[in-house]
Assembly symmetry: none
Homo-oligomer: 198 residues x 4
């Protein structure tokens, strides 16, 4: 295996970025297994060979693509949470939060299914997934403490809440179930979340 270059010059950094973005695009559209490295390179506008100057192998591209994906997902959520400062965590705020989360998922929906799938198939992706979950859960837990939320088993509650919100987002983004009323779903989720932290 050759030496993997950590790009220094601006142009190189941009080239690496281009490859990651190409991966984000193509993996999302066709799936990781159905995409070959030649296609990523082509979409990125580079040669196949140069890809291996910036990445160890195909999976390395995937991992960095997922990293970018997580950033894209997390950024709006984080912004929202950081701006809550003195706001009371009531019904309204939680619904706002859910809308942000849903939108964040919608904006990045092409890769979503793929990432979930791969987190079940590949150990490294799985680890990345858990780290992301820990990051988000930790941030939320911190916010809750700042707002003087005092409940027992807070970690478990946040964890449950995390899953509930994730499920809601998936539901809304992919419209999997024809007979589900999404507004009712959101309102139900809000109530459940509120009941978890009161």
């Amino acid at each position: 295996m050759g030496i993997v270059r950590e790009p220094q010059k601006v142009t190189s950094i941009e080239k690496k970025k281009k490859i990651i973005e190409a991966g984000l695009k193509v993996f999302g559209k066709k799936g990781y297994y159905n995409t070959n490295t030649a296609e990523i390179a082509k979409v990125a506008g580079v040669s196949t060979g140069i890809v291996y100057s910036y990445f160890n192998d195909k999976k390395d591209i995937l991992l960095q693509v997922i990293e970018l994906y997580f950033q894209n997902i997390f950024q709006p959520i984080q912004s929202f949470l950081f701006n809550l400062q003195n706001t009371k965590l009531d019904h309204k705020i939680i619904e706002q939060f859910l809308q942000i989360a849903i939108k964040s998922h919608q904006d990045n929906y092409t890769l979503h299914e793929e990432v979930i799938a791969l987190s079940h198939l590949d150990k490294d992706v799985h680890k990345q997934f858990l780290n992301f979950e820990i990051l988000v859960s930790g941030t939320i837990e911190k916010i809750l403490l700042q707002h003087n939320v005092k409940v027992d088993n807070i970690t478990e509650r946040v964890h449950l809440a995390y899953n509930i919100v994730e499920n809601l987002c998936h539901e809304c983004v992919y419209h999997k179930h024809a007979n589900i009323n999404y507004n009712a779903m959101i309102s139900l989720t809000t109530k459940t979340l509120l009941s978890l932290f009161n």
Copy 2:
């Protein structure tokens, strides 16, 4: 693609069954993508060629393997639900239900991750997944109605409950999070479920 025979003779039916069971075993152990048809045939004790008399292609095997898997998962849950008849749906019953669900997942855990992953990667598996969800949700909804549970948006509530239970099962079977207290998790889930249907 050749014509797929629907086996008539007892021996043929058993041969097909053997192949599916071999798939269940091997896909669970090594994963769908890491298993080749030759290996399935070998484990099933048949020739590679004959597989294509009973199945259209490799994915066709997968779909029928997942079908069997769902049966294995659902059977104990269904038995439990059918025996509830006049029992009151209280705290205790729900915890019993959760234990049944968790055990059911544990008994079939090798294939579980794989199935979830593939449901995100493949449309047909995904459809199968939704159908299973509809089957389970429908059964539960029927049970709830039999027990005179009267809430608005019952479909959405059952759906939310379904996801919460699924998450709990995954959590308990795979122990993904080191810092989660599972008993607290189970108790928390029970309370949340109860609050959903009262």
Copy 3:
């Protein structure tokens, strides 16, 4: 890696043989590194895939090609040695032996250089080489003992003789040196060998 089939049916054995013979031919003509598996398959008249049913990998083909090569080289030498029974090991016999050895090399000369080269580059080929040397040296030593040759350090003498004969064969087969008189060379070698075992 798939399971490597040890061919059972006559046709399969012949197919494997064909592949080895194709390797003998093509490796000899173009060299191991300049030959790709597709070409071997093509020359053998089979598909690329089937090659990997009979061989673990490309090098496995090489090793079996070399095995065949050694057999081809050794057979006439062995025949000659086994027919010596009661013959006296004089000048004449040794020259006959050298002629046999030279002819044996000439009949298989295309692969010769390649095999020597690879024995220096690859551990497994090297081991094969040493084993061949041990086989030949052992056979010769046995013959010498049968003829009541009594010298000290017989192993070292046979070893030295082996190298001298090998060098002679290379010289005669490849005509590397324009200014060498081969008849003189043969006669000189004969004398040197005689002096080694008297």
Copy 4:
């Protein structure tokens, strides 16, 4: 292929030398085929591109590396031979010579196997090899004549002697054969050489 510059300035000459020395080092350690030009450049402390200003291609580096290697091998042998002037070529001197030759091989042993291998795989390396042999043989022949050695077929004798010595050196440097007594081997070689030139 670009125009190959013959370096004029001292710095350039040193740069070229550095590349050759890097090749000597790396080819010896990892082998020619397992070394890429980037690595040679890195070890030499130059850029990959500049290599192609001093050499036509990768093989051109190899040829010049081998040239250096031959110099390293030959120098001590030549010194020894030139200092023989009036010494009698007896048993003792020949053993001294063998020890010099063996040591010379030992000091350069990493590249040795590689060079032998490549001499069988590549025509140009082969030609270089023959030229070296002619150089050494010629030098030895001259020395013998200076010492009034008078035998028929002197060229062939020197040639045979050359091969015998080479084989001895390989034997001693690589210890390929577990059952060979090296002291006996050296003494046997000495005797054989003496008998060739008396």
